[in-house]
Every structure is written in structure tokens, then in C-alpha cells.
């Protein structure tokens, strides 16, 4: 593929599993889940459901003194995730101002809590009593705008929505901008908060593992007894740089984005997943885009969703084969929607570097119709190249091919 090399020079994670990428990776390997009853909203709205919240999230411990009051939870998660990624990549407060760094944020909702509360305030108290500051956070690019203001990021700033594939889509979007020379340095990834509005919505749509089902395998990717996802939240970001930019500043390189592709299954809304052939198509295209014929591991988006997990497995099998080891992190981290794809990418980088593939936590009875190489146990790994797959219930499919160098 023509164009500039796209390097990854740093990562940042704020998640239910922790705030350091290596610690998060260790917890995924240990299968130490983070599920508990919701505390961010009145759990009586949906009794019995478990979620994976970022515990005791205190953004002021991560960012320099300043007023974080204008940022809602999604904005704060994005702010901290981007801060951690920029710091990890060696872009400190001084050097960040030296060139226009951009931000590409993937999110499914931005903050539907902010939007809903703003609307309800207007209805209850009257439109003259809503807060102008809250209004500026009702736009779906609010988190990206707030982070740009805070971090002085004057480069390309965009937000992309592709449901639970939004984070992976953001990495693909950013990689395209760098490859084509439109940006030199971008912080890219995703952010999503848990709130009453989305949690109740997912529960009503039957997307979550129901509260009366606490048996083994209920929220476990690729398990025969899966009944739905456990909702999660967090932010995950990667700093992407043009190869020449990263080399010129002697940046530490944590990986490379080799290729990417995305597509849409126009039959998904009719409930016909066609065994995942649109995802298979994106995997083929991403491999082709990367100029490679295969990968050594897969970081899948499976969340415990009955139909979607099998479709994803079928797509993986169809293109990279049954032998390539696959991991899926959502039975530990939860379904963090817009943040998920970027978190999967970060886990894939760590797996290749640490030469360990995290097990699929809680996997006891692999679904026989998911003919892929999954295991509950964390395994040794020898991988040069990883595939990240991301799917949404609504038909979005994204694939990324990553390598360590």
C-alpha cells in the first residue's frame, strides 16, 4: 500500500481493570473480572444486572491542576485516556504545543446521560433553567472538543460513531489520515461511560446477560451458555505517528498499524448475520491493505452475544483459519462499546510483546459452532502480527492488522 508508515508510540487506558496498560493486561491474563452492581445510577432501575465500572474514578489525579467541572464522565474518561497515551508516547506538556496534534475519538453515545439530563431539566424546570455548559456537552463531539481544549490539540479533531466498533473505527480513521499525509501525530481511540440511559436501553433491548442468569458462561465470549454482554466503560487511546515523525524524535515504537478495513452487513438489522461474511470481507481487505497473507493471533470483539459471537468466529475461521489463537477480553473488562476496539488493540500489542495470549476468562464450554482456537487459560504466544476485529449488533465490521515493529 502506498503512503506513509503508521507507527504507534504510546498507549493510555482507564478502565474497570486499572489505569496502566500493563496492569490491565495482567488482569486480563489472570481473568480477574471487574463486575459488580452499578453504583453510577440507581440500580433499582434494573435490579440484578452487573456492570464493569471504572472504580473511584478521580480524573484530577491524572491531569495537571485545572477546572474539570465542564467535562462530563465521558469527557473525563477521554481526557485521562488521552493524557496517559500522550505521556506514554513522550509528548509532554511542552512538546505538545510544538506541532498540531490531533484527536480521533470513537464513541457510541458520547454522553447520553448529559443529553437526557439536559432535556429532562428543560422539561421540568423550563427551558430558561438549563445550563449553557451542559448544552455544549450535549453534542456528540463534546468529549473530543473538551479534550482538545484541555490538551491544546489544534490538529484534526474528529469523532466517529460505529456502535461497538467505534474505537476500532477511530484507529482506522486516524491511520488513514496519517498514511495520506493529512496528519503527523494523532491520539486515537475510544471512550464510553456507563449511565442509566444506555444501561436501561441495552437491558430493554435484551442485549445484556439477564440478572436471573448467573450460571457459568453467561457473559462469556464464545461460550455455549452465553446469554448477552456485561456492560462496561472506560477509555483507551493509542498515539499514532507518521513513521518519519516518530523516527525524527527518536520515539519509542510500541507497534505499527499495517492495514485496516471496514464494511457493513446490510442484513444485520433483519437479524440475518450471514455467518459473518461482511466481517470476513473486512479481514481479507485489512490483510490485503497490510500486504500480508496472515496473522499470528486475533483479539476479537466477542462479548457473549448469542448470534454475533458465532458470526465473528465464522469470519475469523473463514479467513485466518481454525488454528490461529484467539482471545476476547469482554468477560473481564465488560462491553465498553466505543472504547472496546482500542482496548482490544492495546491488549494485542501487549500479548505480542509479553509473548502471552490471555485466556477467555470464564470459558468452560466453548460453543461447538464457533470453530476457533480459544482457551480459558492464558497461553504462551509467538506472534509477530495481530488481527483486531470489531463488530456491532447493527452490522458494522472493522478489522485492523497490527505488528510490534
Amino acid at each position: 500500500m502506498h503512503g506513509r508508515g503508521v507507527l504507534m508510540t504510546g498507549v493510555g487506558v482507564i478502565s474497570p481493570l486499572g489505569d496502566r496498560a500493563d496492569a490491565v493486561f495482567q488482569r486480563v491474563c489472570d481473568g480477574a473480572t471487574a463486575f459488580a452492581p452499578p453504583t453510577l445510577f440507581d440500580a433499582s432501575a434494573m435490579p440484578g444486572y452487573l456492570v464493569a465500572e471504572v472504580p473511584a474514578f478521580a480524573p484530577e489525579t491524572y491531569v495537571r491542576t485545572g477546572n474539570i467541572r465542564p467535562l462530563d464522565r465521558t469527557g473525563r474518561l477521554a481526557l485521562v485516556g488521552a493524557e496517559l497515551a500522550l505521556t506514554d508516547s513522550g509528548w509532554n506538556g511542552d512538546t505538545r504545543a510544538q506541532q498540531p496534534i490531533g484527536l480521533i475519538l470513537g464513541t457510541m453515545f458520547c454522553s447520553v446521560r448529559t443529553i437526557g439530563e439536559f432535556d429532562r431539566r428543560g422539561l421540568q424546570a423550563g427551558p430558561q433553567f438549563v445550563s449553557p455548559m451542559d448544552f455544549s456537552n450535549t453534542v456528540l463531539n463534546a468529549a473530543a472538543g473538551q479534550v482538545a481544549i484541555w490538551q491544546r490539540l489544534t490538529g484534526v479533531n474528529s469523532t466517529v460513531a460505529a456502535g461497538a466498533a467505534s474505537g476500532a473505527q477511530a484507529l482506522a480513521y486516524a491511520a488513514e489520515l496519517i498514511r495520506t499525509g493529512r496528519a503527523d501525530v494523532l491520539v486515537a481511540g475510544g471512550a464510553e461511560e456507563i449511565c442509566f440511559e444506555s444501561a436501561l436501553g441495552f437491558a430493554r433491548a435484551g442485549r445484556l446477560a439477564p440478572p436471573d442468569d448467573r450460571g457459568p458462561g453467561c457473559g462469556v465470549p464464545f461460550d455455549a451458555r452465553r446469554t448477552g454482554a456485561i456492560l462496561g466503560e472506560g477509555a483507551a487511546f493509542v498515539v499514532l505517528e507518521a513513521e518519519e515523525t516518530a523516527r525524527a524524535r527518536n520515539a519509542r515504537v510500541v507497534g505499527r498499524v499495517n492495514g485496516w478495513a471496514n464494511s457493513y452487513d446490510p442484513d444485520a438489522l433483519q437479524g440475518d448475520r450471514k455467518n459473518g461474511d461482511m466481517l470476513a470481507h473486512t479481514i481479507e481487505h485489512a490483510l490485503c491493505d497490510a500486504g500480508v497473507s496472515g496473522v499470528d493471533m486475533v483479539s476479537a470483539s466477542a462479548s457473549g452475544a448469542p448470534a454475533l459471537d458465532v458470526a465473528e468466529a465464522a469470519a475469523i475461521t473463514a479467513v485466518v483459519g481454525r488454528e490461529i489463537p484467539v482471545t476476547a477480553i469482554k468477560s473481564v473488562a465488560g462491553e465498553s462499546l466505543g472504547a472496546a476496539g482500542a482496548l482490544q488493540a492495546i491488549v494485542a500489542l501487549h500479548a505480542m510483546r509479553c509473548r502471552r495470549l490471555p485466556g477467555v476468562a470464564g470459558l468452560q464450554a466453548p460453543d461447538p459452532s464457533a470453530r476457533i482456537n480459544v482457551d480459558a487459560a492464558t497461553r504462551p504466544l509467538d506472534a509477530q502480527r495481530a488481527l483486531v476485529t470489531a463488530t456491532s449488533h447493527e452490522g458494522n465490521a472493522v478489522s485492523l492488522v497490527l505488528s510490534l515493529s
Binding site: 472538543g145 489544534t154 479533531n157
Partner: protein, 406 residues
């Protein structure tokens, strides 16, 4: 390095308060038609203002042939209609296209706001039990592109870029890169937003809504007018368009995206200047080459002043000679659809060598002293048009459309 593939506009579909379809829309623009009327979507009695740019004559049924209109939100309905109109205009039949080679890239400010508004109505009425699966199935913003692709059975790239009031331009820009990168043969790109209580409440609270009409760049301008609508452009690579003998409106010749990183709602100017400069460099044009600027031109005091100053800085000595108009004077501010509708206007201006006017312009403002094409459309050669859009979050986007050489 090989020259990068060129991207052209071959179809336009618009659903607006002044016309549905490219030709009715263009005729209405040149005639200075107003699409502003009393709001009917919700009760405005709690507000001090009561006007909006609603699309009152829209019937989704002729356009939703595979999806049922009652199962999708209004913004999706508007987007589907715009997409079908654009394909028809381009001479493309969806059923005879390779589904995998056609992608959808849409911008929006609010996605499907009526779904969260209904959620809130139930919640406040203590009817939480009435909140059903439709909220999660219809509300999220990415459903706009998903619904268009499901309706038309397109399987290519699919995403929504919800960068508020500049979203249409962002969606067109990213679609352009998809085509240049060989990721699609055809992209349906644009934006859609439906009339929203939340949006209306917010702008009313800011005191930003004009009570009677939208008067961009006028000394006595009193604000913006919220509106709704959709526009979808058919973008394709030039070689693909030529191979099928398509009529070409204009080339999407370049773009520039920047961020103010200054304030969530107050424009800064510097980012807008850089976006214009990057777009012109990307398209290989100089300020003197630009024959028309489609302004963001919301009609608020701050926007129009800052935007005029930014254009002066970006265009230098040439600024007074560049006609710049705001069609928001007729449509109001259609939010995420606005820059897509304005992109359609730019492509039409390039094709027809005519400039839509800024209506309701009466009193010059010393802070806004450019040529705003006041009150009357103008015949004028348009080889190069620039489409500017600015958004909450400090997001700036400028696109350049140019005439294809014969």
C-alpha cells in the same frame, strides 16, 4: 509518487424546508425562498421564540422501501430520502451496483434526538416501563448510516461522523479519502439532522435564536434559526465516473480540518483560517482562484464577525473580491446537515455558474464588510467554491469544489 485519484460529485440529493431534490432546491435557493415557519414538532409556548426551519412536506414512505419508516427515526428517514434522490440524480440504480464497493459516510449533530426525548418523556411521566427496545435500536447516531445502507443494501464502509455543526463537511472529507485510498468505488456522503427539542432548548437558553428571521452578516442580526434537513452527495473516483459516462457536477478537490482547542461554543478564528489555508493548499488553489465562499454564516453576532475576519485573514487582499453568502438565511441552521446541504449548493454553483444569495440583508455591519451576495442571486463564473463549516468543540472544516476541466 503517483498522482492521487481525483474525486467528483455526480449526484445530489437534498431534503430541505425550501425544496426536496437538487433542482427544486437550487431553484428555491436562487429565488431566495424562506423555509422558516412556526415550529410544529413540539410546543414552543415555554420558549421566548417560536420559529424554525422544519421540513413540513416530507413523506418518508416513497423512499423507505425495505425498512419500515415507523421503525427508524426521522433523521434516518431524511437521510434515506436524500440518499435515494442522490443516486437517482447520479443515474445509479442501487440494485445494479456492487454492494461491497459502496460506502456510507454521514455527519450529524444529534443522531436521532427524538428517541432520547421520548425516553425522557416516559421517565418524567413515571412510565419507565414504556421504554422499550426501540431506544437502543434507533437512537445511537451510527444508525443513520446503518439505516441508509440497510435500506439500499450497501455493504461498503459505514460510519457516522458526529462533529456537530461541521459534521457534513467531515463526512464528505473522510469519504473522499476512502475513495482515494481505493476503499470504495462510490461513497454516499453528507449529513442529516431532524428538528430537536434538545437543540432548540439549548440555543434558546444561549439567547442565540432569532425571533423572526435569520440575517447573516447584517448589522442588526439577532441570531440563528434551528432547522432540519439532509443532503447526500454521490462521490466517486473520476475514472469510475468517466467509465460509466456520468455527468459531473464538480470535483471535490481538497479539504482542511482543524481544531480551535479554545472554547466549546465560542469560535476563535485562528482554526478557521488554518482550515481554509490547508484546504486551498490541498486543492492546489490560491485565494485569487476562489470564486465563491459558502459561509457558515449562522446569523449570530459572534459567528459572523469572527468568520468575516477569518476570511479576510485567509484571503488577504483578495477577500473583498470573493463573494460569500449564507444559505442559512433561507434554511436556518440545519445542524449536522448544514454543511452537507451547503456542499450541495457549492456543487450546484460550480455547475450552474450562479451564486445563491444571503437573504434578509439590510444594514451593513462595519465588522462584516465583505461581499455577501445580498438578497439577490448572481450569475458569476464559479471555477472554485469553498465550503466553510464550524462547530461546537472548535471543529473547523473547509472543503474546495472545482469545475472539472472539459
Amino acid at each position: 509518487m503517483q498522482p492521487r485519484p481525483r474525486v467528483v460529485v455526480t449526484g445530489i440529493g437534498v431534503v430541505t424546508s425550501i425544496g426536496i431534490g437538487a433542482e427544486p432546491f437550487w431553484r428555491a435557493l436562487l429565488a431566495g425562498t424562506s423555509g422558516i415557519s412556526s415550529v410544529e414538532s413540539f410546543d414552543t409556548s415555554p420558549y421566548a421564540v417560536h420559529i424554525g426551519g422544519e421540513v413540513k412536506k416530507f413523506d418518508p414512505v416513497p423512499f423507505t422501501r425495505r425498512l419500515r419508516p415507523e421503525t427508524i427515526g426521522r433523521a434516518s428517514q431524511l437521510a434515506i430520502a436524500a440518499a435515494r434522490l442522490a443516486l437517482d440524480d447520479a443515474g445509479l440504480r442501487p440494485e445494479s451496483m456492487d454492494p461491497r464497493a459502496v460506502g456510507v459516510s454521514l455527519g450529524t449533530t444529534s443522531g436521532e434526538p427524538t428517541l432520547i426525548e421520548r425516553f425522557d418523556d416516559y421517565e418524567l411521566a413515571n412510565r419507565r416501563d414504556a421504554i422499550g427496545r426501540e431506544f437502543i435500536e434507533q437512537y445511537p447516531s451510527h444508525m443513520l448510516a446503518a439505516h441508509v445502507a440497510s435500506e439500499l443494501r450497501f455493504a461498503g464502509s459505514n460510519f457516522v461522523i458526529p462533529t456537530a455543526c461541521a459534521a457534513g463537511n467531515y463526512a464528505l472529507a473522510h469519504a473522499c479519502d476512502h475513495l482515494r485510498g481505493g476503499r470504495a468505488d462510490v461513497m454516499l456522503a453528507g449529513g442529516a439532522d431532524c428538528f430537536s427539542r434538545i437543540t432548540y432548548t439549548g440555543f434558546a437558553r444561549l439567547g442565540a435564536i432569532a425571533p423572526e428571521r435569520c440575517q447573516p452578516f447584517d448589522k442588526n442580526r439577532k441570531g440563528m434559526v434551528p432547522g432540519e434537513g439532509a443532503a447526500v452527495l454521490v462521490l466517486e473516483r473520476l475514472d469510475y465516473a468517466r467509465a460509466r459516462g456520468a455527468a459531473i457536477y464538480a470535483e471535490l478537490a481538497g479539504y482542511g480540518l482543524t481544531c480551535d482547542a479554545h472554547h466549546m461554543t465560542a469560535p476563535h478564528g485562528d482554526g478557521a483560517v488554518r482550515a481554509m489555508q490547508i484546504a486551498m493548499a490541498d486543492a492546489g488553489v490560491q485565494p485569487a482562484d476562489v470564486d465563491y465562499v459558502s459561509a457558515h454564516g449562522t446569523g449570530t453576532s459572534v459567528n459572523d464577525r469572527v468568520e468575516s475576519a477569518a476570511v479576510k485573514q485567509a484571503f488577504g487582499a483578495h477577500a473583498p473580491r470573493v463573494p460569500m453568502s449564507s444559505i442559512k438565511s433561507m434554511l436556518g441552521h440545519t445542524m449536522g446537515a448544514a454543511s452537507a446541504i451547503e456542499a450541495a449548493a457549492c456543487a450546484l454553483a460550480v455547475k450552474h455558474d450562479a451564486l445563491p444569495p444571503t437573504m434578509n440583508y439590510e444594514t451593513p455591519d462595519p465588522d462584516c464588510d465583505l461581499d455577501y451576495v445580498p438578497n439577490q442571486a448572481r450569475s458569476s463564473r464559479v471555477n472554485v467554491a469553498m465550503n466553510n463549516a464550524y462547530a461546537f468543540g472548535g471543529n473547523n472544516a473547509s472543503l474546495i469544489f472545482s469545475k472539472r476541466p472539459e
